[in-house]
Subunit: 251 residues, 4 copies
Amino acid sequence: MPSTKLFAIVAGAGPGTGKATALRFAKAYPVVLLARRPESYAEAVAAIEAAGGTAVGISADATDPASLDAAFERIARDLFPGHRLAAAVFNAAGGFARKPFLEQTGAELAGALDGSVKGLWNFAQKTIPLLLETVSAEDKPSHPPSLLVTGATASVRGSAQFGPFAAGMFARRALAQSLAREFGPRGVHVAHAVIDGVIDIPRTKAYAVNGGVEDGKISADAIAESYWHLHTQPRSAFTQEIDLRPFVEKF
Amino acid sequence: MPSTKLFAIVAGAGPGTGKATALRFAKAYPVVLLARRPESYAEAVAAIEAAGGTAVGISADATDPASLDAAFERIARDLFPGHRLAAAVFNAAGGFARKPFLEQTGAELAGALDGSVKGLWNFAQKTIPLLLETVSAEDKPSHPPSLLVTGATASVRGSAQFGPFAAGMFARRALAQSLAREFGPRGVHVAHAVIDGVIDIPRTKAYAVNGGVEDGKISADAIAESYWHLHTQPRSAFTQEIDLRPFVEKF
Amino acid sequence: MPSTKLFAIVAGAGPGTGKATALRFAKAYPVVLLARRPESYAEAVAAIEAAGGTAVGISADATDPASLDAAFERIARDLFPGHRLAAAVFNAAGGFARKPFLEQTGAELAGALDGSVKGLWNFAQKTIPLLLETVSAEDKPSHPPSLLVTGATASVRGSAQFGPFAAGMFARRALAQSLAREFGPRGVHVAHAVIDGVIDIPRTKAYAVNGGVEDGKISADAIAESYWHLHTQPRSAFTQEIDLRPFVEKF
Amino acid sequence: MPSTKLFAIVAGAGPGTGKATALRFAKAYPVVLLARRPESYAEAVAAIEAAGGTAVGISADATDPASLDAAFERIARDLFPGHRLAAAVFNAAGGFARKPFLEQTGAELAGALDGSVKGLWNFAQKTIPLLLETVSAEDKPSHPPSLLVTGATASVRGSAQFGPFAAGMFARRALAQSLAREFGPRGVHVAHAVIDGVIDIPRTKAYAVNGGVEDGKISADAIAESYWHLHTQPRSAFTQEIDLRPFVEKF
């Protein structure tokens, strides 16, 4: 019996969680990396190939349905014909910085909502049908197909001056919960991770987080390892939500 | 010393919570009622006037900044010159019905987000500056100026097939929390109410909620009474969130 | 038709929430005040009588079932024969100070659990049957009979070095929730209040809370007013949980 | 450089989560199994030894400090001299069945609190000092030392007629949170798992959970795998809480 050929997709494949997750899942599956700009995924694609894996980067904007349509048509047609989707990771950032409410603009609110929740909604519209197909594949894959969604502190806390970001991330969490309740019983594992801290990436190197203590920022590789664990959970024991934070983080 | 003259605004002034809240606050203040269509506020305006109160209805769409601009210009210029804003209630509905995720449209998602969170954000942009002015009025009003926000079961629970509505209502709650944390310390009371059940209004008369038992739907007048209580809380004891449900409601 | 004669009971009637609640409810009902030591309720009893109300203090320890038995026998026999219980407020303190976990003693844990949850369980065993009788009284009282339970920040947050207190207060909240779900549908309103801040009482006068700002501590009278509001909610719109905190409190 | 020799302890080592966790951790460490009665751990000890691992069962009652003292003295003296504690798992059951509140007894409440929170408090008093020693071991172990705590649906929901059990499990969760906040910054990973469903063990074979669907009960091995994942998280990315439930479980 030939086993089902599988692949994974990571949206928001820039440095940090996206790149690390793509590398981790590439140990098991060919991986498609989506990002708005090629420079965001180029490094991850190179690193996966250097490690002997298979990776394809596609420039796509999850907030734009037409852009996603084009990307998924290309995936279906050119990339992995006959492959089933094992895992889809949504990691695109919401993109809003702290700002007094009365200085915020409607465009900033719209941008935060687009990035946080419209992007996930679009991405789920494309990936849920593929994940459902994997559930009904003749030879079941080892792990239930998964949709993994990256959250943040702002997913569970509306801090002062963070309204648009918190609005977007609360909304993203709501959508992930709703999808888990609709598609869990159909065999698709939808999980949400509250990343509660600053991730240790080149851009944050200079930040003296948690007093600058060693391991005071979150290792992106460790996040990726937890995402992989979520993916490997059997359907008798799905996790819907985890939190991840450095040992010294206040919470 | 002349006491400060005050007024209140209720956005989303249709039958149910909006109308009942307008009537309750009209016992103390002249009230402006905002709704998209005159037929939504006409009944409430008539009822307030019949009871000896003062009410003005204005057709306005909270999701449209230009429409709100026009409404607030009219309020400042024509309606209550020299009056300060005592209370602003945001009660506009999110407007989304249950539907399988894969049948939902992007327009439905956008509509739910617009109604639930963009509308509140627009309304808060207009009312927070007025509420801050009330805080600094020379003769302090009896009650801290308040922004009261109506939520729903979907504000805290992402049920299956309710993704867009839950996304919007989670986002609304996040924004209310964020505003409470930014403007509470400046003297403005921002509170959020989780209305967890079906409200007893003409449109729901036929619904056999909770087995059709008496009081199995929520009285809009009771909600209004709780809103009034929130408004009267002194700043030493602000409530940020309450839930309200019929005694027989499962939760 | 003669209306039902009613009374209220406040357990934990010392200065602060207990005394203020007793005074507030005494405007409507004769009140029984329970406390371990007479000096805890003496002041409140005197203040109620001075205001023209009726109050009786009884020394009783809610953590000791025999002590409560004696108190409720006396109430039934001597105090208000033929009266029904309108409201029961449980406000006894958990009694634990911050201490490193490895320095805590088993006796401190037991004391915190006794005060926080065993006391409420005992008190509810005595009051729920009386509240159910009120529900079925021939002439219904104006407000559904209520069991109101005082919580704290530690009811929803297990802070470092506060394990026993948080354990007790989480447990108290769990029991209040469970009682609300069992007895709400039978007409008894069980509500829990998260008092999130320092209460302004003689013992805390010296504390420079929130930078010593005016109204930076919670007014006990304001808490009492919110408890009275909870008591007056009709059964079509019960609140199960509110939070109360000063406008400047971080949360 | 000689690497640190490590061992693990599982309290509540009966069939289900306890046995499965002991087996999983025995792949890496010698394991001590604690249970009140030898028949509870006998099967797990035999299974570990059959698989080539090392296991020792000790009869001990976590609710009794003297019993735990004796067990830990024996561990220190006889079992693994020079070994450090890598992981401690608290899995003892709370032990309370659904019952109308007015039929519950004080002994049932006390039993639920003892089993759920006093037992954990006692166990943590014995294991936290050992876990702190592991943190400061000269040659660091691969994984931060961990205290893993088993919760249940009742840890986050006070259902009708489940007051004592919910009180105990809310309290257990509070204590786990408090320990995480105190000892996380010192390098000990404290995590809590909300096991939201019926575990698939011999005793539950006959239960037609979730309509009797395959995988409608939770696999104890899957829980154990998630516990192992929690144990392997580096200190830059600790999870404090996960939920685990069957794909078809309502939540």
